[in-house]
Assembly symmetry: C2
Homo-oligomer: 262 residues x 2
């Protein structure tokens, strides 16, 4: 395995730059830490490049990763160089450079899915991906203006959800509408039905919106069903988007799992 100890090495410089920029469309991204790298290997095979802390190559979990990656695409870096790539204070001594596949938008969407309408905060996007995966959702569409799914912060709060989901980034949600063969369901503070009144569709396209502005008017108008979470509106104006999504997706899951006894 090639060993690099100079900060001026072009490969190291390029990696350091990548480590602090969010992934542009189709561009490579840096997965940081043992779990993310293991998950990538398991789901997609070898990375474009694997980068190891030379001092930690003998650690069992790191050694297993090194053994699983072709040597030609592996680099061993001095500890201080490796640390400069880590997205958290104490890096785990391994990172993969990978290119997430850009998935084609299916011509017809007839499964339970979630649309992210310009959700800005990376922590919210990561938590939402994690909640979607936990609720059994398999496909999500992230509108342009949503935090980049494969950025370090979103990856960290996603806790592996990225590998359980088909993630369509830079999605044009308006263009998606004619392809939906499931009803569009939005949360809304007015003109909406109580979430707990009556049944939710077994399969639908949920749309959750921008932290300040909510779901775009155009999408709201296209929603077949608008639901209101009956919260204490005297206490707070609204719920955090991640909390609202968790409540909606798990109410749907509750009805699916325990439906006959509603």
């Amino acid at each position: 395995m090639k060993h690099i100890s100079s900060r001026d090495n072009p490969a190291v410089k390029a990696l350091a730059k990548l480590a602090c920029t969010a992934g542009k469309r189709g561009a490579p991204v840096l997965l940081d830490g043992v779990h993310l790298c293991q998950a990538w290997l398991q789901h997609y095979g070898a990375p474009d490049q694997a980068i190891f802390d030379v001092e930690r190559l003998s650690q069992p979990d790191i050694a297993a990763l090194a053994a699983a990656v072709p040597e030609a695409s592996s680099l061993a870096l001095d500890a201080r160089l490796m640390q400069s790539l880590a997205s958290v204070e104490s890096g785990q001594g391994v990172a993969f450079l990978v290119t997430p596949q850009v998935l084609p938008v299916p011509p017809v969407v007839d499964e339970n899915c979630v649309l992210f309408d310009r959700i800005q905060d990376p922590g919210n996007v990561g938590t939402l991906l994690r909640t979607c995966a936990a609720a059994g959702i398999k496909r999500v569409f992230l509108a342009t203006g949503t935090a980049a799914a494969w950025s370090p912060k979103v990856l960290r709060s996603g806790q592996g959800a990225h590998f359980a989901l088909a993630i369509h980034e830079h999605a044009d949600l308006t263009a998606l509408l004619p392809r939906l063969q499931v009803p569009l369901v939005a949360t809304s503070l007015d003109g909406a039905r109580d979430l707990y009144e009556g049944r939710l569709p077994e399969r639908c396209a949920w749309v959750f919106g921008h932290e300040g502005q909510g779901v775009a008017a155009e999408l709201l108008a296209a929603a077949k069903l608008k639901v209101l979470i009956p919260h204490d509106a005297v206490a707070v104006e609204s719920l955090n988007v991640g909390a609202a999504a968790a409540i909606c997706l798990f109410e749907q899951r509750r009805q699916a799992l325990h439906g006959s006894r509603r």
Copy 2:
């Protein structure tokens, strides 16, 4: 109103230091922005000190705040000094220095309430406070080791929840147990009942735990009821603590609001 234009003014230096440190027990904290200051005025009256951007004193919402605060405790700062205090990139031109009251722990707790067991992330703590308020909870206990409730990040993600809740910080949760006259309920991945099987107590003390470690063993052992959110465990190991709490608190709320039709 006293007008300050020097960065070296001792009052400005002290405020700048406060603006970036999380609130220690009983210490003053800085509330940043129109909404938080309005909410403080409405709930607790005049602040220890009110600080205004001298260039924005004629803005109606800022002027209204200035009129409501005794002049002796008001300061007008040059815009650049004011900006150095703001916790977000574009400050709103007003901040209050306040001392949140340290509430005595009630001898008996017989209401629906939430215990935060060392939740580290300020965004999670703020979201959780907001979710608690939205679910109609009135009292929360934050164990030592939980992010400081009145720190800028927690205030920001709380979105006003601080003013709808009695917040007990630095709580000793173990010492609280004998005072609970409602059952302690914890989420747990094993030995737990499905959240959606059977009814939840109308009033209980929910405990939500540390992002990595979950609820402390001692508290888990004291729980009268352990519930499991039936998530897709193949997809992700667990839910974010804020999402889990939203699901639990709103399932309880659903049962309370729509109980007869379960």
